[in-house]
């Protein structure tokens, strides 16, 4: 996965993500693609969650999946989640759950309840940082005011780090793939460097949903695992998504 939140020079927060899934879950030799990734693409849908006929939040999802990986609460915040690998992983959480220790939350149920119930960017950030989880994760959150963009790096129990947009430091965007931002990514899977190179080349003056789509379309940020790209703009309550392909030559991950 790749998620990015950027602030343009007018103070708008733009949020884009590639949802990559299906690694090592069966390779289709003839079509040079991952089997599960290809089977997921027809299930990609945009959802408008309504209460009293009013939109509460919108999401890009896989039909049949009741949790949320990508969503926006119009005019309030946008949220995506990327996988985080850790030895202290979800299987421990599941084991605890089976043994009756159920004070943690399932990751995508947390994102769903934050999108449904949080009242602000700060409220959402606190819930994502402090709620106990069954599995580690990265939460990438965008807001509706200048400076509101962050990556929450979570272990199952703790919030390990929160990296925020900081215009004074020249950090006009935050970008997450699947590795802690203070560490080098796995050399076999460095999508961060090419993504940041393209963001820096775009510059804050030229960043828009259009140019963010360009960054998310650059290999290997776009790869064989990429099922969809979503672009969100909180100030306009806008969510748009596109099903992707990556014709060979293209990185398997």
């Amino acid at each position: 996965c790749t998620s990015v939140v950027a602030e343009d020079d007018k103070g708008n927060l733009l949020h884009g993500r590639n949802l990559d899934f299906g690694l090592f879950m069966g390779w289709d030799i003839k079509n040079k693609s991952w089997i599960i990734s290809e089977k997921l693409k027809p299930l990609v849908v945009n959802l408008d969650f309504k209460r009293n006929n009013q939109t509460v939040f919108k999401s890009t999802n896989f039909a049949g999946y009741v949790g949320m990986l990508t969503g926006i609460k119009p005019h309030m915040f946008s949220l995506t989640m990327n996988e985080r690998f850790s030895l202290d992983g979800g299987y421990i959480g599941i084991l605890e759950w089976i043994l009756g220790k159920r004070d943690g939350m399932w990751m995508s149920f947390l994102t769903r309840s934050v999108l449904e119930n949080a009242k602000s960017y700060e409220d959402a950030k606190a819930l994502l940082a402090q709620t106990k989880l069954l599995a580690p994760a990265y939460f990438i959150l965008g807001g509706n005011q200048t400076g509101q963009g962050c990556i929450v790096t979570r272990s199952r129990l703790l919030s390990i780090d929160i990296l925020e947009i900081d215009l004074k430091l020249g950090r006009w965007y935050v970008l997450e793939t699947n590795y802690d931002h203070w560490k080098e990514p796995l050399f076999l899977d460095d999508r961060r460097t090419p993504a940041m190179k393209c963001m820096n080349r775009t510059t804050q003056a030229n960043i828009s949903l259009k140019t963010m789509y360009d960054v998310l379309s650059t290999k290997p940020v776009l790869n064989k695992l990429t099922t969809y790209t979503t672009l969100m703009q909180v100030s306009e309550g806008k969510l748009k998504s596109y099903i992707r392909d990556c014709p060979s030559p293209c990185m398997p991950w």
Partner: protein, 121 residues
């Protein structure tokens, strides 16, 4: 580069999406949070039933590739329905509704929904 990681120059003018990296647009559905959890996903799942059955079959094939006896899927179908009772509201009821409409065994819909945690295995 024509060797891994196949990095390329930063793309431009990819928007509006078109060409070989754009498979298609995504359709919109409404989920009514005022309706009972068990009925919220009926319209969507009715529409997407074939594709959902398809992906579950692919996951079943994958599991059987690891455990040819089919015992792994049997385990999922026998034990995960019990787990649905432990899931917080409204998720347990919504998952039941999806199983009802799709005809996919409840345990396998539970697996699809907790896959992130299971995948770490």
């Amino acid at each position: 580069q024509f060797i891994p990681p196949f990095t390329e120059d930063c793309r431009s003018d990819m928007y509006p999406p078109s060409g070989p990296t754009f498979r298609g647009d995504v359709s919109w559905y409404t989920v009514d949070l005022d309706s009972p959890p068990r009925e919220r996903w009926t319209a969507l799942i009715t529409d997407k039933k074939t594709a959902l059955v398809d992906v579950m079959q692919a996951i079943r094939d994958l599991a059987n590739a690891f455990v040819p006896s089919g015992k792994l899927i049997e385990l999922v179908d026998i034990t995960l329905p019990f787990m649905v009772n432990t899931l917080p509201n409204p998720f347990g009821e919504e998952i039941r509704g999806i199983s009802d409409v799709s005809g996919i065994p409840l345990g396998e819909v539970v697996l699809f929904n907790i896959f992130y945690e299971v995948f770490t295995v």
